[in-house]
Subunit: 313 residues, 2 copies
DNA sequence: CCATTTGTCTGACTTTAGTCAGATGAATGG
DNA sequence: CCATTCATCTGACTAAAGTCAGACAAATGG
């Protein structure tokens, strides 16, 4: 019974879609087409803007329009202009629609309940814990890392959270002004980069690169939202930063860190960073690390992989 | 972040169907309608009987017939008479069909791979483990317990496995002939019952009840397939047996068990069985238990949550 | 051998789902 | 104010999914 991870996922996939997907589809329904029920459910108690509905359910605008019409004809919802933008519209459930929504909601509860029904307490607990874990990791695999403006809204959000956390964790508190600089200009090419990790569009982590010498970069502002830790996001950010560093011609990467940040230290050590003597005057730093990029050991001409352009497609 | 189990499941449901369901649907596809691809995939390398396909994918026979026709027209499969039953037919993939199947198969691998792609080794391992666990429990909730003929095929399969296991586990080996009798006639109403636990139609456990006196029943043949242990099936069987016992007018339940069967002993103790002196001459027994049904007692109301099989679809 | 049941097919449908090319009116950025 | 862009709606489609009532031949159970 030893399965590869791939097999395991495929099997999981089958079981889950059969057990949940199948039920899930017809616990909705209620006489009206599935699409309409899903839409009704998605609108929710507070109502929703059509634009959001369109993107959340990825519906064609014409199709959405028609579905809404049919629900409207059944007296389940009303469409009104959005308060701020007269082009946009907003769907609100009527009293009848809310009732219908409640039915759908309770059905979805029944589905969940039926999964629990046949398990004992101990089993339930374990299943719930395992589900939470799977969900967490599935979400982790949705995290996207990309270059972003270090002074954008999302970036500022992360940095603020980052500073706030340092303040909490450092024995001495933390004042960005006393720390080593990392102004937006220093974190944009060609001087550096700023990377953001996003989940569902929301920022959940960041990391930056700042040039501090010829071929030497410094890693700064590494932070992951507490709710998203343990998912390997920091690792991915670090790898991405190293990639960016290479692109910016930095062969040596340095960084400093505070003694209270154990996870960070572990991360760097795990990734081949060696502790070195103090290289800056950051008052908050207790450890300094450095890593030199390997000399692309195989720059021999017969590594034709890159230039070869063998068979296409 | 404290969610009730129900919320947890619903959230899991959403995440998984969005992440896997959505991808899953279009990794198939390949130019032909989803239904046809699914069918092709389901037929598999060994081919399949139409009847099985119909039930596995729950398709209307007319619809299935049409889908098969279109795949046949594309030269992907051939239909042949089933060897044993000239009414039945069997779908077999042609060489071209197998090729197409392989493509679908590899796509489904890609899907799995993409879920792993962004995780580190440690995370992967944990996710896979959690998936295995969730899957296990989901399957557990598919187990159905029902009365069955003690001399049916499925029952004989279980009993054989049961005897075989006892033979392995008892220090003394095990010979059914030396043990206390439990002939089919003793395990059918009004003398007793035989319950089977099935998963996907396959037997995975059993338990029986035999009348041994006025208002006194004996629990026998409790067994759960090793691959399905830890899912609470024995617990459910026991509860179901107690229900049957009540229906058969047995107020006292007894049973014996061998010293090597620790899990069994734990199960009975957990369920309110008290150890009593030897009440039979079973040479394989070391412990004897008894439980008297409460007189419609006001046992704590919160024990009512067992296998309620809550609000069905 | 005959009445039934079983497994599959066929034809004639209806519903859902999904797409596309405009039309319309409101914002938006000079 | 004007050209664009945006958000939505409409009409005219097509394709896919699903349903139903027979028809037919093979098996099954007396």
């Amino acid at each position: 019974m030893d399965m590869t991870p791939i097999d395991r996922i495929r099997s999981f996939n089958r079981t889950v879609t059969r057990r949940i997907g199948a039920l899930g589809d017809d616990y909705l329904g209620r006489g009206r087409p599935l699409g309409a029920s899903r839409l009704l459910f998605e609108i929710g108690r507070e109502g929703a803007n059509l634009r959001d509905l369109r993107s959340r359910l990825s519906l064609d605008s014409g199709y959405l329009s028609r579905l809404l019409r049919s629900l409207e004809a059944d007296g389940l919802l009303a469409l009104e202009r959005a308060p701020d933008d007269a082009r946009a519209r907003r769907a609100i459930l009527t009293r009848k629609g809310l009732k219908e929504w409640a039915v759908l909601d309770s059905r979805s509860q029944d589905l969940a309940t039926s999964l629990l029904a046949s398990l004992g307490d101990a089993q339930r607990e374990r299943m719930i814990a395992a589900m939470a874990e799977v969900e967490r990791f599935l979400r982790a695999s949705e995290v996207e890392i990309a270059v972003a403006a270090p002074d954008g809204t999302a970036a500022r959000h992360c940095l603020q959270a980052y500073f706030h956390e340092l303040q909490q964790r450092f024995d001495s508190g933390f004042d960005p002004a006393l720390s080593v600089s990392a102004a937006p200009g220093e974190l944009t090419p060609p001087n550096g980069t700023f990377l953001l990790a996003r989940l569902d569009g929301h920022p959940v982590g960041c990391g930056a690169l700042k040039r501090i010498g010829r071929g030497v970069g410094e890693i700064k502002r590494m932070w992951v939202d507490p709710t998203a830790r343990g998912l390997g996001i920091a690792q991915r950010l670090l790898e991405a930063l190293e990639g960016e560093a290479a692109a910016l011609g930095m062969r040596i990467l340095r960084l400093d860190t505070n003694r209270s940040l154990d996870e960070a230290r572990a991360l760097y050590l795990r990734n081949g960073y060696r502790e070195i003597p103090r290289y800056n005057d950051n008052p908050y730093a207790h450890h300094w690390f450095e890593k030199t990029r390997a000399k692309r050991a195989v720059s021999r001409p017969n590594s034709a992989k890159t230039s070869g352009r063998a068979g296409g497609a």
